[in-house]
């Protein structure tokens, strides 16, 4: 009768809400892996700083790292939502390209200068990217095509459409405002505008995921979508919105890369989705759905970039970064899987048990 033991001797606590923990689920759940991954980042940074203190640990270098990571960070926000629903989006890079192509077309039509053209470009990029994301979500949830295939198709199609529109040649024509004020601009001294945009998106994304109903439903749908359907949650709507959010962040990424490179990057985004997915997964978000954090994703994204920059500075062939990131990725998923097996006499144990009982 262990269920009826009560530890504080109060007969009224038979119903047994014992050992109230102070921390919320979202803080306590991924704590261990988040801690591990922060430690890894810290150690890597420390090693590079020790080897090359005069160059690695400088404001200029950190500014570069921030700018490098800002687009990935924005995409990582959307990707974290998608992966928490047990989905995947391989098409972010192509959707990013597509949105920036359409944005440049709009900007050129508006005369390629002035804040008016800039804002129209931004607006158009966000709308088309969100729409493409929503289409992905529709195909995943209502048409029931696996997310991997839907977004693999989108990866190809969005890039193809961009190439058709441009003839395969990158479009120039971003407004001076976009390039000078946003792409190369600083908010204050050496604090880049792009980095600030990324930080704002990341914070808003974190609040949305961890504090709101939308975030809670994202976890719920990824955790057990059948349970959600039964209690009357509109699972399809939630999935479409999550993929649309992914698209929205790809649209922001499209504008940011346009501001950074002054032109579209048709051939330059083929690895973007994989980089972002690797960051999300290294950061502890479970590919099986149901949990993950924005914070983890950010740490997961920093590791490859810090490695890359660090290797260049200390003179190691930077290709090593790819090897190390690959190892990290597999290790992260291994840890996730091992933890699921170990921790679950509970949720997944249920599945195992029912499997056993049917056999």
């Amino acid at each position: 009768m262990s269920m009826f033991t009560n530890t504080n001797g109060d007969p009224k606590s038979d119903f047994g809400i014992l050992a109230e923990e102070k921390e919320s689920l979202f803080k306590s759940l991924p704590k261990t892996q988040t801690f591990q991954i922060v430690s890894v980042l810290f150690i890597i940074t420390a090693i590079f700083s020790a080897i090359a203190p005069s160059t690695f640990f400088t404001l200029f270098n950190f500014r570069n790292i921030i700018i490098n990571i800002s687009v990935f960070a924005v995409l990582g926000v959307g990707m974290t939502f998608v992966i928490i629903t047990a989905g995947i989006d391989l098409s972010v890079g192509s959707v990013l390209v597509f949105s920036s192509v359409i944005a440049v077309k709009a900007i050129i039509a508006m005369g390629s200068k002035g804040w008016g053209a800039t804002f129209v470009g931004i607006f158009v990029a966000l709308v088309v990217a969100s729409a493409w994301g929503a289409l992905n979500g529709w195909l995943v949830s209502i048409a029931k095509v696996p997310a991997f295939i839907v977004t693999l198709g989108s990866l190809s199609a969005a890039l193809g459409v961009s190439q058709i529109i441009t003839g395969g040649i990158d479009l120039r024509g971003a407004t001076p405002e976009l390039v000078d004020k946003i792409g190369f601009g600083n908010i204050y001294k050496q604090i880049p505008v792009l980095g600030v945009i990324a930080v704002v998106i990341v914070i808003l994304g974190g609040i949305l995921l961890h504090k709101t109903k939308f975030g809670l439903l994202t976890y719920a749908v990824g955790s057990n979508n059948e349970a959600c359907r039964r209690v009357g949650i509109n699972v399809n709507r939630q999935l479409i919105l999550v993929y649309a959010l992914m698209g929205f962040t790809a649209g922001i990424g499209g504008i940011m890369s346009l501001a950074m490179y002054q032109q579209t990057t048709i051939a330059g985004q083929s690895n973007t989705a994989l980089t972002v997915i690797a960051g999300v997964v290294i950061g502890g978000t479970s590919l099986f759905g149901g949990y993950g954090t924005i914070f983890g994703t950010m740490i997961g994204l920093f590791i490859p970039i810090v490695l890359q920059t660090g290797f260049i500075i200390i003179g190691v062939v930077p290709f090593w970064q790819n090897v190390v990131v690959g190892v990290f990725l597999v290790a992260a998923v291994y840890v996730d899987t091992a933890r699921r097996d170990a921790a679950d006499g509970g949720g997944k144990g249920l599945k195992k048990r029912s499997k056993r009982s049917t056999s």
Partner: protein, 252 residues
């Protein structure tokens, strides 16, 4: 006394197969009505129809004597009809409170609520009350339910449905996956919910359990309810006879 839930002449066809052939069924408030029948008798179809998951081809459903149409499980829930599913239906990554209010999240007051912020304080209190009401054993409100035992998870699932059900609560084989102690706990929960005045429909294959918990037993066979016994006036023999059709042979 009017029935809290009554079905009359329910027909449901799947192609050429008639799963329900003019089935009648009723539930009284504050009573546990067991619904039994062999596999394929049509129990699940009837429950799916009464809980709004499927539509009947013919027949009428009454709640408190009024004809209702339940086009979806949400409609049934709005009428105060809830179901505790066999396979729990909790989200393992969410905690007890979040599961309790799944699909019914309470927004914060004021502008923050409009932005989708949730009032966890209200939801925590509501959950505590619901668990206390039922004497449900929930060790922690903040750890994820996936890490809990099957009995605790079942307690949460029952408490959730019981908290929202105002008229009828369906239990679809609630003890199938549980051990002896947890079974006992669930049966106690069922009694407590019944004592709140809610009509309970208890679907089970376990005859001893049915005889222990129910006030009334309705037996289904080949798509109709063929018998309606007071539990105190029946026995295992008779129930099994009605289920398998042995009684028909005797009466013929």
């Amino acid at each position: 006394m009017t029935y809290v839930l009554e079905a009359k002449g329910i027909v449901r066809r799947y192609g050429h197969v008639e799963a329900l052939r003019g089935c009648n069924f009723n539930v009284s408030p504050g009573e546990v009505t067991a619904l039994i029948g062999d596999n394929g008798a049509g129990k699940s179809t009837l429950v799916r129809i009464l809980s709004g998951a499927e539509q009947p081809d013919d027949g009428e459903i009454f709640v408190d004597g009024n004809v209702v149409r339940t086009e979806s499980p949400s409609d049934a829930r709005d009428l105060g009809i809830e179901t505790v599913f066999q396979d729990l239906a909790l989200c393992p990554h969410l905690n007890a409170v979040q599961n309790m209010y799944l699909g019914r999240e309470v927004p914060r007051k004021g502008i923050l609520g409009k932005f989708g912020f949730l009032d966890y304080e209200v939801m925590r209190k509501g959950s505590e009350d619901a668990f206390r009401d039922l004497g449900a054993t929930v060790r922690s409100l903040t750890s994820n339910t996936g890490s809990m035992s099957g009995g605790q998870r079942q307690s949460i699932a029952v408490a959730r449905s019981a908290a929202w059900a105002t008229k009828v609560l369906f239990f679809d084989e609630p003890t199938a996956a549980l051990g002896v102690v947890q079974k006992k706990n669930v049966l106690n929960l069922v009694r407590r919910v019944r004592d709140k005045g809610i009509g309970i429909v208890f679907i089970s294959h376990s005859m001893p359990e049915v005889l222990e918990i129910s006030d009334r037993v309705q037996v289904m066979r080949r798509g109709i309810t063929i018998a309606d016994y007071k539990t105190s006036q029946t026995n295992l023999e008779e129930l099994v006879g009605a289920m398998t059709g042995r009684l028909d042979d005797l009466s013929n």
